[in-house]
Symmetry: C2
Subunit: 308 residues, 2 copies
DNA sequence: TAAAAATACTCCATAGGTATTTTAT
DNA sequence: ATAAAATACCTATGGAGTATTTTTA
């Protein structure tokens, strides 16, 4: 089947006159006659009843005309759709995020983007940081809000707003009302922590902080989410080190106290595959970058075209 | 836009390999590369991200693929639809009928046809005989059940089952209980009739019957339907000549009494344009003909290819 | 008889083939 | 080093043009 035959037939069915139809199609009459004959032969159906004085649609021709108009319409529409998606005006983005991101920059970035690019359908999926990096490598995710210190070389990333670790204690704790706490004064406490199997990124972040301070405290494994950690502390299960932004979660019975000395920044980045960047993702990154002016001294990968 | 480009792209998007896709398409690899390039150039959009080791759909390509599959599907479906309509397996027929036909063959024929050709949508429209012949000439109707003695030369027709005129009297009338009535004994009665303007065919039929009997009775004009005529007779407005089949209408207070002498057949034909006969109409005529074996001595036009 | 569709033919644009080169893993 | 896509070039099918014939209202 040739598409131009359908176009010719559609015009012919409107004009019901080979000469005028040929003129509208910018061809001459004989090839138009031949084209219609070819179409009818291919279908095995007479579409136009014609003689030298009259041209009229058959019942089959009328039915076919309806379908043909839909087809021609769709062909144009398909091209426009492709162009719109290529331009980032339409489409869909799959974005991953960890539970703790809901109290950081993520919601604001998502809302900004939804407003600026209403044609893009955002699919948000809560996943752990390691699940996200996996999914990003396998192209099952376009971008992810992750808590990892270093992203794989195949990913680019953008650091999120800085967020320092603070100490989280239950309200009744002797240290809970101090203005700030030295990390070493917590060496006898039991810490609520992440199991390495279930949330390796979060686990590693906190352990790195401990080892930098040179201490090896007692730990109690629990949960895969920062929010759960705070809730467990509030319930008296121990103390913990958590991102300062967890204050926004507002969990009663937990106090957040800054640590003494230099700040202990948490890691948090928006990451995406370096090699797979559709226009919609570019737009998303642009919105994120706009909301996150590059902070000097933050230990995250440079965003654009950098190599490790 | 060329349809084969869409086909090539659809297969290519499935295989994600130019060599295998070309094989499936029964062409060689180079023209397939050229074809995709031509499609991308026309759209102004990259559909496949490719190098010598990997071929992958872009976001725009994924969106376009969805549309392309619908288009290719529809193109095939359109051809099948055209063939089905041409074969009389699908489509629509506009059939006219006069009010009196509901007590004659029409309902049975329509039901037979609906059973035999369930794919054809029957559009039944009650119209006077003259409206129907007009509509048939202007191709606004495919066929019509009409009450006319002679159809125009541009129409073919099939006589319906024979139906004689009988006398219709109110129950209390002196002649109402006779076994049969001589037409001349009614010369002093007032007749319920059709106005010529509103129902010329019915009017002419009855007037012809009168003039054949050589009488010119008093008339009272009313209505455009046989059923109304019977109802008016029952209400004591006069007497009338009506088709015997009106007995089936079962209107209380009206008696139908045969006429003496030779029978006075009513006219009733299924008519259609000689020049415009889609397959669905052929099927309809076939069903009607099957139910109406040609009766000798009936004064209606021969059905097939006859000239007046 | 005149307007319009169908035929007969000619031409060239392009879809598709073969041979080869380039590229990325 | 090798598999696969891109490029170069050639061939031939068929879409479109011109000239003419046929048809029917």
């Amino acid at each position: 089947m040739k598409l131009h035959l359908l176009r010719y037939f559609a015009v012919l069915a409107e004009e019901l006159h080979f000469g005028r139809a040929a003129e509208r199609l910018s061809i001459t009459q004989p090839p138009l006659s031949a084209a219609l004959k070819a179409l009818e032969d291919e279908l095995g159906v007479t579409l136009l009843e014609r003689n030298s004085k009259h041209v009229a649609l058959t019942a089959a021709g009328t039915a076919y005309l309806g379908e043909v108009r839909l087809i021609l319409e769709r062909v144009n529409q398909a091209a426009q759709t492709a162009r719109a998606v290529a331009a980032g005006l339409r489409g869909r983005l799959d974005i991953g995020f960890t539970g703790s991101m809901v109290v950081r920059d993520m919601p604001a970035i998502v809302q900004d983007f939804s407003r600026e690019a209403p044609g893009i359908e955002l699919q948000l999926r809560e996943m752990s940081s390691s699940e996200q990096t996996d999914a990003l490598m396998h192209r099952q995710l376009h971008a992810g809000f992750v808590n990892v210190a270093t992203v794989p070389a195949a990913l680019d990333s953008l650091p999120l707003a800085c967020d320092s670790f603070v100490c989280c204690l239950p309200s009744g704790h002797p240290l809970a009302d101090l203005p700030e706490i030295d990390l070493r004064s917590l060496s006898d406490e039991t810490f609520v922590m992440f199991s390495r199997e279930v949330a390796p990124a979060n686990h590693d972040n906190v352990v790195a902080l401990f080892s930098r301070a040179g201490i090896h405290p007692k730990t109690r494994h629990a949960s895969r989410q920062w929010l759960t950690v705070v809730a467990l502390v509030a319930a008296g299960m121990g103390v913990a080190l958590v991102p300062a932004s967890m204050a926004r979660a507002g969990i009663a019975g937990a106090r957040l106290v800054p640590l003494t000395g230099e700040p202990h920044p948490t890691v948090g980045v928006l990451a995406w595959p370096r090699a797979h960047r559709p226009a919609a993702l570019e737009a998303f990154i642009a919105v994120a970058r706009q909301r996150l002016p590059p902070l000097p001294g933050v230990s995250a990968r440079a965003p654009e075209g950098s190599r490790p």
